[in-house]
Symmetry: C3
Subunit: 323 residues, 3 copies
C-alpha cells in the first residue's frame, strides 16, 4: 500500500507531467492572457435584456403604470456598464488573440471607446427586437392548440426562449461581438436543446414547437411565418477545403427556407444552395439535400408493415431486429 511519501512523489510527478504537457502543447490553455468575456456577466446581461423584452415575467414583480418607466430606465442604466465591460473584454480579446504570441496585450482602455459605441447601438435596437418577439409569441399561440394563453408561452415554452435569446444575440453578432452572442445562444441551447447560431437570419413570426434537438446553422436564411418542430436540422453538406486541406470558412453552407413553410419533427435540410420554396411542407424525418419549388409537399415513403402471428411475439421480435 502506498505510504504518504509515495503519494507525495506520485502527485509531484503528475504535476510535472501536466506542466510538461501544457508547455509542449500550448493549445487549450490560457496562460498570460488578459482578456476574456465573463460567462456569468453575459448571462446577467441576458436576464436584464429579457426583463425589458417581457416586463413583469422574469425579473421584478409588481410593475404598474406608475413605476414602469422608472424600472425600464433603471434597467437600461444597469445594463449599459455591464455591456460596455463585456464588449470591451471581447474586443480586446480579439486583438490579443490575433497578435503575435510574444506581443504585449492591448493596453487597458484601448477598446473602451468602441465598446461604448457598440453598447449604445445595442440598447438602441431593443425596441425593434421587442416588436419582433411579440410577433414570435403570438405565432406560438396561433400555431399550438395546446397553448392556453400568451403568459404560459412566455413562461414555459422553450422554443420561445431559444428564439428570444437568438434575436438578442443576433443583434450583438451583427454589431461585431460574436463571442458574446455565441455564449448567449449556447446558454439557451443548454436550457432548451435548441441550437440557433447567432449568425442565422430569421424573419418575423417564427415558431419552434417543443424545440429539443433543433439545429439552425450560421448561414441559414429563414423567411416570415416559418414553423419548425423538434429535431429539425438546417445544416451544412460536406465542406469545400482549400489547397492546404483546411476547410473554407465564412461562405453560405446552410439552406434557405422561404416564407410560410413548415418543417415537421426531425426533418433534415442541408446545403447552402438548397432552397425550400415558399409555402412548402416538409414531412417528419425527411432528409433533403436539394431545392424544392414553392408549395412543395415532401414526405417519407410509407414504412414497411408486417403483423406478427398471434402466438409468435418473441419470434417476430427476433426476426424484426436481427436481419
Amino acid at each position: 500500500m502506498a505510504t504518504g511519501e509515495d503519494r507525495a512523489t506520485g502527485r509531484a510527478e503528475t504535476v510535472a507531467r501536466l506542466m510538461r504537457g501544457y508547455q509542449d502543447d500550448t493549445r487549450a490553455i490560457r496562460v498570460s492572457k488578459r482578456y476574456l468575456p465573463s460567462r456569468e456577466a453575459i448571462v446577467e446581461i441576458l436576464m436584464a435584456t429579457l426583463d425589458l423584452m417581457y416586463p413583469g415575467y422574469f425579473g421584478r414583480r409588481g410593475l404598474d403604470q406608475a413605476n414602469l418607466e422608472a424600472h425600464v430606465a433603471g434597467q437600461i442604466e444597469r445594463l449599459a456598464p455591464m455591456l460596455e465591460r463585456e464588449i470591451e473584454q471581447c474586443l480586446c480579446y480579439g486583438r490579443e488573440h490575433d497578435a503575435a504570441a510574444d506581443a504585449p496585450a492591448p493596453p487597458e482602455g484601448e477598446c473602451a471607446p468602441r465598446a461604448r459605441r457598440l453598447a449604445e447601438a445595442f440598447l438602441a435596437r431593443l425596441p425593434e427586437i421587442r416588436a419582433l418577439l411579440v410577433g414570435d409569441v403570438q405565432a406560438a399561440y396561433d400555431g399550438d392548440p395546446a397553448a392556453t394563453n400568451l403568459d404560459e408561452i412566455i413562461l414555459a415554452y422553450p422554443g420561445v426562449l431559444a428564439v428570444s435569446v437568438y434575436r438578442i444575440a443576433h443583434a450583438l453578432h451583427t454589431l461585431g461581438v460574436p463571442m458574446i452572442a455565441r455564449i448567449m445562444t449556447e446558454w439557451a441551447h443548454a436550457r432548451t436543446g435548441c441550437d440557433i447560431h447567432p449568425g442565422a437570419s430569421i424573419g418575423p413570426e417564427f415558431f419552434i414547437d417543443h424545440a429539443t434537438g433543433v439545429v439552425i446553422g450560421e448561414t441559414t436564411e429563414i423567411g416570415a411565418r416559418v414553423k419548425l418542430y423538434q429535431g429539425v436540422t438546417l445544416g451544412a453538406l460536406s465542406f469545400p477545403k482549400d489547397a492546404s486541406g483546411q476547410i473554407i470558412r465564412g461562405r453560405k453552407r446552410h439552406p434557405t427556407v422561404e416564407s410560410d413553410s413548415t418543417l415537421y419533427a426531425n426533418a433534415t435540410v442541408l446545403g447552402g444552395r438548397t432552397v425550400v420554396g415558399a409555402g412548402s411542407v416538409i414531412g417528419g424525418s425527411v432528409f433533403l439535400a436539394h431545392s424544392v419549388p414553392a408549395r412543395s409537399r415532401v414526405s417519407l415513403k410509407e414504412p414497411e408493415l408486417r403483423v406478427a402471428p398471434r402466438d409468435g411475439l418473441e419470434t417476430a421480435d427476433a426476426v424484426f431486429f436481427d436481419i
Copy 2:
C-alpha cells in the same frame, strides 16, 4: 465619438420607444397584474414531493426506521402551505386573466378556500403516485441491460426523472391547476430533453430510455408496459381551424399507443385517430400517421448502400453529398 450627454439623450430615446411599444401593443407585458405563480416556489414544491416519492435519495440523508415517519410528516406540513399559496396564485391568475381589462383584480383571499381543498386533494394522491413510480423504476431496470441497480436509475436516469415529474404534474393538471403542472414538466424538459405534456394519460410501468428529444402531446393515451427510446414523438397532425381561421383547441390530436408496445429511437407517430395496436414494435426513424393493428412490426425500408473505390474517397464524398 458620443459624449456623455449624447449617450444620455440616446438612452432616454430608447426608454421612450420601449414605453411606446409597451403601450401600443400590450401583449407580452405584465403590468398592473397581481397574480402569477412563482417558478422558484413550484420547483421547491416539486423537490419536496420527489423526496416523498424517493425517500433518502434527493433530500435529507440519514433516514432510518426511527426518524422516517417524523420526516415524512414534516415534509407534508412544509409542502401544504407552499402548495396552497401557489394554487391560490394560479386560481386568482386565471380569474384575473379572464376578466375584462379594466376590471379590478380578484380580492386577496377569494381563491383561498378552493386552493386549500385542491392542495389537500393533491397530498392525498401521493401514495398512489408513489406506487406508480416504483413500477416505473422497476420497468427501467427490467428494460435496460446497462442498469446495475435501482439506485443508479433513481439518481441518474433522465427518463425516470421526466416520468416522475410528469406523474406529479398530471395529478395537479387533473385537479385543475394546469399552469403549475406545465411549469413542472418544462422544468423537467429543460433538465432531461424530454417533453411530456401534463395532460397526457400514461399507464403503469412506463420507461423512456435516454429521454432526449422525446415529445408526448397533450391528448396522447399510452397503455401499460410501454417503452420509448430517445427522440420519439407522439404528436399532432395538421390542426382543424374554425370559421374565423383560429385553430380549434381541446380535442384529441395525439395518438393512442396500446399496452406492451415499444417505439425505437426517433420514431414519429402522429394524429388523434392513430392507434398503435397492443404489442407492436415501431422501428427507429419510422414516420407513422395511420393506425396499425395489434402485434405490428413497422420498419423503414432498407437504406441505399454504395461502397467507394479504394482510391476514390474524396470523390465519393462529393458524389454522396452534392447530388
Copy 3:
C-alpha cells in the same frame, strides 16, 4: 369546506398510507443505509478536473507562467481528498448494496485504503486525458467551418464538453467506480443533451457537432477521427434473455464504428455485431442494423415530392397529413 381538524386527519391518513407503502414495497427508498456518493461533491470534482484539463478557462483567471505550477499543484491537493471520500462512499455503497438486507453496514474506514489507491491512480491519468482532449478540441476546429478559434470551442461547444466529461468519467469507470462515472456523464447529458455511457470506448480526435440527442451505448467501440452530428444513436438491438426471463447484462450490445467515419444528423446504428467499416459515411436519418464494409456510403432513399397547385394550399395540406 374542510375544517382545520379535517385537514389534520387527512394529512395523518396520507402519512400513514405513505408509510405503509414504504414498508410494503422497499424498492426506491433508502432507509438505514449509510453510504451514497454525493452528487454535489462529484460535480465539484468534475469542475476541478476540467480546470486542470483547460487551465484558465473555467476556474481561476489570471494564470501566468509564474503562478501556473502552484495553481496546478494546489488543485491536485484539493482534488485528492474529495476524490478519496467519494470513491470510498462508492465502494462501501457497493458492499452495503450487495450484502444481505439485515447485515450491518461495512464499518467506517474499511474501504479507505482502496479508495486512496484508486484516487491516486485517477490523478496519475490526468496528463494522458489532457493530451486526448487537446486532440478532440483540434478535431472540432478542423471539422466545423463555423468555429472561429479554439477558445470559442472550449467555452461554448456542448459536444466538446460532453466528450471531455466522458473521457474523465471513462477513467473512473475503468478503475472500478462506475457510479461516480455515471453521475458525471449524466451531469453532462443534462447540460448538453448528449448521452455517452462512461463504459464506451472512444478513440482520439473525436468530434460531436451540436450534440443534442446523441446516444452512445455502454459497449460501443469507436475508432480514431470519427465525427458525429446531433441525434446520432449508437444503440442496442433487442436484448437476449436468460431462462428466467431476465435480460442478460454485460455483453456487447452496441456497434463498432471504425476510424475516419462520419455519421450525419439523426442516423441510428444498432447492434453488438454491427460494424461500420473504416472511412464510411452514414447519411442523415439512416437506420442501420447490419454491418457495412469500409468506405461505405449509406443514404436514405429519396423522399416523395409533390407540388401543390397554386390555389390549393389548404387542400394540399389536408391531403398530405390525413392519408
